[in-house]
């Protein structure tokens, strides 16, 4: 068995001759606002994230890193793909700086306001035109935390899916993946024949930080921009129009009011007051 990823000593290749295992990997990524900076003032039907710093979705970093590690060990090509606004270019550049080979930016004002469904159909339409062995998504995007696009994409492309992958190997014959899929009480070891769609989660690897060389090279790597018309999708199918889930309202969560706070109280006395409080509440 050839073990990929962090666990493997580099160069432990066996079996198949170089080139025979050349892997084509697509990594769909999303740029997300940094949740720590998001604020809402009052009820609204959309969330205004203007001015909030953007970042590459943390789960997608695991996906990008996994793809690059496979390419480095087996040879191959890593294609970064995003559907997003012009500023999502920053996320693309980061993934290219880490080691992606080329990128596709699905860019059209008509893509705006998409839900999982109208995101997945756009990604699927582009991916159908491509060759690939693996698609690696993030487990979920950190803005809405839905974790739906990966599985929806797999269905639209009629691929097997393995979600929540935290360990990845390619079998010696170069035809299957063996993964550890996170479960509630541990993990399961799941095997599937490629092509397959995986969603990456924490534990899969330690995403590298791009170095200066990588950042310089990223700007020169091929970047294709593709709009809805080129994909052959019409306006009713995509973005807000094509969305099957609609946001009605966004509102602040019920505030928990900070309760009792003891400062400068002797530990013994503080403990006594706490236990009295808990007993009164019936909590102990």
């Amino acid at each position: 068995m050839l073990i990929m990823g962090l666990m493997s000593p580099a160069g432990q290749r066996t079996g198949s001759p170089r080139g025979a295992s050349f892997m084509k990997i697509i990594v769909p990524i999303k740029q997300v606002p940094d949740a720590v900076e998001v604020r809402i003032k009052e009820a609204a039907d959309t969330l205004n994230t203007d001015g909030v710093p953007q970042m590459l979705n943390p789960f997608d970093l695991f996906a990008v890193e996994a793809a690059i590690q496979l390419k480095e060990e087996k040879g191959g090509e890593v294609v970064i793909m995003t559907m997003g606004p012009p500023q999502a270019n920053a996320a693309i550049l980061k993934a290219l700086a880490m080691g992606g080979d080329r990128a596709i930016h699905l860019l059209d004002p008509a893509f705006e306001g998409a839900d999982s469904w109208s995101t997945a159909i756009v990604l699927a339409e582009q991916i159908r035109k491509m060759e690939y062995d693996l698609i690696i998504c993030g487990r979920q995007s950190m803005d809405w935390d839905l974790g739906q696009v990966g599985a929806e994409l797999a269905e639209l492309l009629d691929l097997p899916q393995i979600t929540g992958v935290r360990h990845l190997e390619i079998t010696e014959d170069g035809k299957h993946v063996i993964t550890h899929r996170v479960t509630e009480d541990g993990y399961e070891v799941v095997k599937a024949r490629m092509p397959v769609l995986l969603t990456a989660t924490k534990g899969l690897n330690e995403p590298r930080l791009p170095n200066i060389m990588g950042i310089m090279k990223a700007k020169k790597k091929p970047l294709e921009t593709i709009d809805a018309a080129t994909l052959g999708l019409d306006a009713t199918q995509i973005g807000r129009n094509g969305a099957l889930s609609k946001t009605v309202r966004v509102f602040p969560p019920e505030k928990r009011k900070g309760g009792i706070k003891l400062e400068d109280v002797e530990p013994k006395e503080a403990a006594k007051q706490l236990v009295e409080f808990l007993a009164k509440k019936g909590a102990i």
């Binding site: 809405w144 935390d145 839905l146 739906q148 899916q161 063996i178 099957l244 969560p253 928990r256």
Partner: protein, 334 residues
Amino acid sequence: MSEHKGVWVYCETDESRLKRVALELVTTARDLADKLGEEVVAVLIGNDIERHAEGLIWQGADKVLVVNDEILAKYTTDAYSKALANLIEAHKPSILLLGATTNGRDLAPRVAAKLKLGLTADCTGLELNDKKQLLQIRPAFSGKVMVELVSPESRPQMTTVRPNVFKPAEPDDSRTGDIEHVKMQMSPDDIRTEILEKVKEVVEGMISVDEAEVVVCSGRGIKEPENLKLPEELAKLLDAAVGGSRPIVDLGWLPPTQQVGQSGRTILPNLYFALGISGAVQHTAGIRGASLIVAVNKDPDAPIFELSDFGIVGDLFEVLPEIIAEIKRVQSER
């Protein structure tokens, strides 16, 4: 759309055991169905699972659809999504609820894409609006905002619902209902993933943070792994689970199953202790549902105090032994 009727609950089983979230969702479905004047249908897919059907009726279901097949002994996306999608196409429900568990969140989007349905993951609230549409309510951005969504066009309206949010009703064993067995044409070739092994990482004797009524959670303030003895002693007194913030789990001091927060578990205990935890949004995203939050932190400005019902500013190594002593004293007097 009017032909779509019935509030469905996908009642997840794991190796033939019924997950608790199924009971929570049947209770919720009952409530919605009564308001809509529709039936509650519980769906069981798996192997050796018929025995759960009656209990689901007692819980509130009018009807149970059972797809029982050896090929369904283990959860696989391909087989389960095919089974569930076929049932939906045949019966046309108006609402479908699934637990937002690992497998529920694997299955739901697959089925949604098969049938072109809107889907909202991980809801924490469900209501009906004046058009009798299902309002799907959930937190986003690490719990900083709440969002309300609808699926105006597609039926069934589909959501996964976070476990532990709704409380299951007391079962009523005088309730009756229909149990219908459904045969599926399914061959091993339909299943493109193979489960080679299932590995449990739960440490023997460790209470899971998901289920415990009391959770004692430690953060980086605990400093050394040996110091976890203190929170463990408190946990023992209260039958509590021992949890940790992410750094503690990343350091390997507690297993990943015990991590509380956005990338760990969302918990709803009666009582939650945050010991040496600063209260970063990613951590507090997991504890907003706790009834009572107690914090001990030496930093008076730690954000955890904005959330806590009872905060003690102090050194946990001085305060915690006193809390343990005081609880022992109170318990011995009972």
